[in-house]
């Protein structure tokens, strides 16, 4: 059952995109969407994606809302920096040791960090497992490490590991 769910998730996702794109729930479109979803998933397996666990939907939803709130807040912060820069601000690199191992979790973390204005994912050393990010306003390294580890990494591990 779990296996079936896992295998039908990707086709269902692609079909949902197709239906949304065509803005229609007509039977013909549903059939076409199902075929395209199946085909897309088959193409994807050729890329040999690494195995991952099914994410916990509720925890994922919580992380999503957290990220949305953070993105809104950093939009305002970065806009303020652009229009009225404080002379004390200094940008810089921050290095953060990570315990997150799931490749999907790391990919999600990369998207979250980079999509949030003010922080950008620069590099992840897969041997020492240290992540380097660049921040627009480096108040204190500790705060950034706590934000990334305490907020995002903890949630992602909860969802995926």
């Amino acid at each position: 059952m779990i296996r079936l769910l896992k295998w039908s998730l990707m086709p269902a996702f692609l079909m949902a995109i197709w239906l949304l794109l065509n803005q229609s729930l007509a039977p013909g479109q549903i059939v076409l969407g199902a075929v395209l979803g199946g085909f897309g998933t088959w193409v994807l397996t050729a890329l040999d994606p690494p195995a991952g666990k099914l994410p916990r939907p509720l925890a994922a939803m919580r992380l999503f809302l957290l990220v949305v709130a953070d993105i809104v807040r950093s939009n305002i912060l970065v806009a303020r920096i652009i229009w009225r820069d404080s002379p004390g601000r200094r940008p810089g690199f921050v290095r953060i040791p990570l315990e997150l191992r799931s490749p999907y979790g790391l990919a999600a973390l990369a998207c979250i960090i980079t999509a949030t204005p003010g922080t950008i994912w620069v590099d992840f050393d897969s041997e020492s497992r240290v992540l380097t990010i660049h921040v627009l306003s480096l108040v204190e390294e500790r705060i950034w490490i706590d934000t990334i580890k305490g907020r995002y990494e903890r949630h992602l591990r909860e969802i995926l590991e």
Binding site: N75, V78, I82, R95, A115, G118
Partner: protein, 119 residues
Amino acid sequence: MIPIAELPGWAAFLVALLVLAGAALTLTGATGLLRLRTFYERVHAPTLGTTLGATLILAGSMLCFTVLQSRPVVHEVLILLFVSLTTPVTLMLLVRAALSRDIQEGRVSPPQPDKDRSS
């Protein structure tokens, strides 16, 4: 196509507010690209337009066409989905290219692993 003039006043006001706010944020991001000093600072600025800026404009579009066509029009969320999945990749590539070149030319020292924390 239903003419835009048929949009009721309250909706027109909300749509205008959303689109203007989104445009203002995107403009702020573009300005930041000009005003900030170093490359690494500059790459942060356009993310304003690709996150909240785009969201506000797309929300305005959704509201406008939902009211005009009297049915939910939500396929704009796809734009948001694709934009938020693809822009980080380009930004990361740009930053990494800049960093590796700066390290090569000795302008920036490579971020050193601090031994006290990474172990």
